[in-house]
């Protein structure tokens, strides 16, 4: 009897598990509908309040904007605006709207709606994150001389102002609808918490393709809310999903074995992985350690001892590119291939250390005063690639006689040490860059910034080279000339390569999977990398 009960219990559990598995399957796909996954529920459908990645994707797919930052060409394209013009002083932007624009309900879209949408995001009560990008949102004025003209006047010049309008959805004046009434290619049709977001095409979308056919081609989009990469891969293989982006390298390799035609390595992303030493004079570290970390020779020697090719090959299974500067080769406008950075050269590293007074004693590196060179590298626990890189660097630096301890910490504990106590020696982390313009990195490079990680919030630049970085970054921020801006950024790159305050390690590659049935895809490294041209995407034979 007891055995029967046990068998019944096991069966009941199995049935429950199967039921749960079935419930987790993708919802049935409508004909011509595109489908992929998002990691979590969008926090908002209000395009003005977007502050998370998934809400941003929904906004991208649904919102009509005056200007669109083209993720492929990395240039600004007019969208709802037929043309736009920036005054020579950079303070006045004039948009001319396309004629006959309509919202998804068929009502007219005029300059009044565009002006209302811009003012709406500028209002403090809205709490729109994009408002900060205007630097002084309170001083911005918007005028509408006629039904198709919008004039925005800024109190001060904003670098890359065109891209800011990529984030401002044009909504019907006084009728915000949380994505259900849009001027973009799609409209939010249905949302089920923790299950999916369904979008339907906007029947009044203004854009047409080269042959004059109606856009978008797809008959809908279903974004399934699913965090599990393994399940996502399984459903992708079954044809339930059309694209997968941001694939971890090991899952990319797994999928490559199963469906080699569907995976693509798009090359380096804009993101960087780097390590740095704590150079803060306030850090609670022994004086001799501070002197090592403040020594250029020490930092350069460490950089020269690291085998970046091994980091890319082992920690990222070959799906990363060795990095020597903060601008990735993917950033075509700002990358400078002529930067002269220290490459792997263990002999040169040893010589540089010897020149700085370091010497080997029983296999252990010691400074001139006889202190053994021992330090720890912090990284965030749970990130397998970073832990592998730190362990590889541990062995690379052992070749110089340095004894390195790898310490994975949970993120809050790590941030506490980096931002507050400054009680750490070295750290290995990554930086996610969403904006190709280096101006977005001002908060990292200016010496008085709290995010100037190796020595935060300096009252005065601690070194002459930091003063030079400040100068060059401020020059690129204030210049009206693109060539001059580029020269200033190149100068910063060269100083960083010479001084190695950040020792750049790799640029992780963008790894994606695309269903062979999906047509019109032009992968780009900028997010949303596979669906940036969503209007032109469609399933084979369905258009």
């Amino acid at each position: 009897m007891r055995r029967l009960t046990a068998v019944a219990c096991v069966l009941a559990l199995l049935v429950a598990a199967c039921a749960k598995l079935c419930a987790a399957q993708a919802a049935p796909r409508m004909p011509g509908e595109l489908a992929w996954t998002i990691g979590y529920d969008p926090k908002t459908f209000d395009p003005a309040k977007v502050d998370d990645q998934e809400s941003e994707l929904v906004r991208y797919l649904t919102a009509g904007v005056l200007l669109r930052f083209n993720r492929f060409t990395q240039k600004i394209d007019p969208q709802l605006a037929e043309s736009w013009n920036l005054s020579p002083d950079g303070k006045t932007i004039t948009f001319k709207l396309r004629p006959g624009l309509q919202f998804s309900d068929g009502s007219s879209l005029t300059a009044k709606d565009a002006a209302w949408s811009i003012r709406h995001v500028l209002l403090p009560a809205t709490g729109a994150p994009v408002a900060e990008e205007f630097l002084s949102p309170a001083g911005v004025t918007v005028a509408t001389p006629d039904a198709r003209t919008v004039v925005v006047h800024l109190p001060q010049r904003v670098i890359g102002i065109g891209k800011v309008f990529d984030e401002i959805a044009i909504e019907p004046a006084d009728r915000p609808s949380e994505g259900r009434l849009t001027s973009g290619p799609f409209v939010v049709a249905d949302y089920r918490r923790s299950q999916y977001v369904r979008l339907r095409p906007n029947p009044h979308y203004a854009r047409r393709d080269a042959t004059g056919s109606v856009l978008p081609y797809a008959r809908g989009i279903r974004l399934d809310i699913l965090e599990n990469t393994e399940q996502e891969i399984r459903l992708f293989e079954r044809g339930e999903y059309d694209v997968m982006d941001s694939l971890p390298p090991d899952y990319f390799e797994l999928l490559k074995k199963k469906a080699p035609a569907s995976v693509r390595d798009l090359g380096p992303s804009l993101n960087t992985e780097q390590m740095w030493f704590n150079q803060s004079p306030q850090a609670p570290l022994p004086a001799w350690e501070k002197s090592w970390f403040q020594s250029r020779a020490f930092r350069v020697a460490v950089s020269q001892a690291i085998h970046r090719a091994d980091l890319a090959r082992i920690a990222y299974l070959g799906h990363a590119t060795p990095a020597y500067t903060f601008i990735s080769p993917a950033n075509s406008a700002w990358y400078d291939s002529k930067i002269n950075a220290p490459h792997t050269d263990v002999a040169a590293a040893k010589a540089a250390l010897a020149g700085a007074g370091f010497h080997l004693s029983g296999g252990m590196l010691e400074d001139a005063a006889g202190h053994p060179v021992k330090f720890s590298i912090l990284t965030n626990a749970g990130n397998a690639a970073r832990l592998k890189m730190a362990t590889l660097i541990q062995q690379d630096l052992a070749a110089l006689g340095m004894q390195v301890t790898v310490v994975p910490l949970d993120f809050p504990a790590l941030i506490e040490r980096l931002m507050h106590t400054q009680d750490y020696e070295a750290c290995l982390l990554g930086l996610e860059n969403v904006d190709p313009d280096p101006n977005a990195m001002m908060n990292i490079w200016l010496s008085n910034s709290p995010n100037h990680q190796w020595n935060p919030s300096e009252k005065m630049p601690a070194t002459s080279w930091e003063a030079q970085i400040d100068l060059a970054m401020n020059r690129q921020a204030s210049s009206f000339n693109d060539t001059e801006r580029k020269q200033a950024v190149d100068r910063v790159q060269q100083i960083v390569a010479d001084e190695q305050p950040f020792i750049y390690l790799v640029y992780p590659n963008v790894l994606v999977a695309i269903s062979p049935r999906l047509k019109g895809v032009q992968p780009a490294v900028l997010e949303p990398s596979l669906v940036w041209n969503i209007e032109s995407l469609h399933l084979e034979g369905v258009r």
């Binding site: 393994e230 971890p248 090991d250 899952y251 390799e253 797994l254 074995k257 091994d310 090959r313 082992i314 021992k374 330090f375 720890s376 912090l378 626990a381 749970g382 397998a384 832990l387 592998k388 730190a390 362990t391 590889l392 541990q394 062995q395 301890t405 790898v406 310490v407 994975p408 910490l409 949970d410 504990a413 009680d423 750490y424 020696e425």
Partner: protein, 262 residues
């Protein structure tokens, strides 16, 4: 009894083999063979290599020795502490006994995982992997004694009411002399407690390692190696990734068999 002997023999053999593998010339648990990543079994690497090209057999052997040595030491500390507290609570004044048991309850109620995380975060960052391993087992021991102390307390209380104890006390034996007589009589209780704690500590260390809170790299630990199983993509690359968990289960079963018979 036969099962216990057989389990103990197999365990001893495993330890011996592991010690020979670790001590073999050229064997290194930290050395990275960067040209042989996730390599299959070969004469050079009989159990293949891990994702950093380190010999899996040497690492598993070192993890076995480290885990068992640490667990035995932690178990010894726990049992000694439990014997002291339990005996003191049973034979001391009522207030002392009550306070000791209250202390046990407090310790049992502690969220040990968070405590361990706090301790790990508070450690100096340059703590070497060997020291971090020692501290991990020490913390486990410091948190493991209360359950054992409760059992000892119960045993000591029942001894306190035995006839020979009444005679001893009536005969004028003082507190210290009584405890000296009691301890040998508690050995049948302490030995199983000692043996039961060993697999518990092996598991606890593996759990901590799997959370990234145990022994630091490059020192191998069960938990660190079990972390590999978290990545299902790797499971398709090499079946040897199951080797550490298989050996861990075998070791745990052997330890349980030894402890169970005791």
């Amino acid at each position: 009894m036969k099962l216990k002997c057989a389990a103990a023999c197999v365990l001893a053999m495993l330890i011996l083999v592991a010690a020979v593998i670790v001590a073999a010339p050229g064997a290194s648990y930290a050395n990275q063979d960067r040209e042989s990543l996730l390599a299959p079994a070969s004469t050079r690497h009989p159990a293949g290599t891990d994702a950093l090209g380190r010999d899996r057999l040497v690492r598993v052997s070192a993890a076995l020795l480290l885990s068992l040595a640490g667990s035995v030491a932690a178990s010894a500390v726990t049992t000694a502490a439990a014997a002291g507290v339990g005996a003191l609570a049973a034979f001391g004044p009522a207030t002392v006994g009550w306070t000791a048991m209250l202390l046990c309850d407090v310790f049992l109620a502690l969220p040990w995982l968070f405590l361990l995380m706090m301790v790990r975060s508070a450690l100096p960052l340059t703590t070497s992997p060997a020291n971090s391993a020692a501290i991990t087992f020490l913390v486990l021991a410091a948190l493991g004694w209360p359950a054992c102390a409760r059992a000892v307390y119960r045993g000591a209380l029942s001894l306190k009411t035995t006839e020979w104890m009444l005679y001893a006390r009536a005969g004028g034996l003082r507190g210290g002399q009584i405890v000296r007589s009691v301890i040998p009589n508690l050995v049948p209780l302490l030995l199983p407690q000692f043996l039961i704690s060993i697999p518990a500590f092996v598991m606890a260390e593996a759990n901590l390692g799997a959370l990234g809170l145990g022994v630091g790299e490059p020192l191998p630990s069960w938990g660190g190696m079990l972390l590999e199983l978290d990545n299902s993509a790797m499971l398709f690359d090499t079946r040897w990734v199951y080797f550490p968990v298989a050996l861990l289960v075998i070791v745990l079963l052997l330890l349980e068999a030894v402890a169970g018979e005791a």
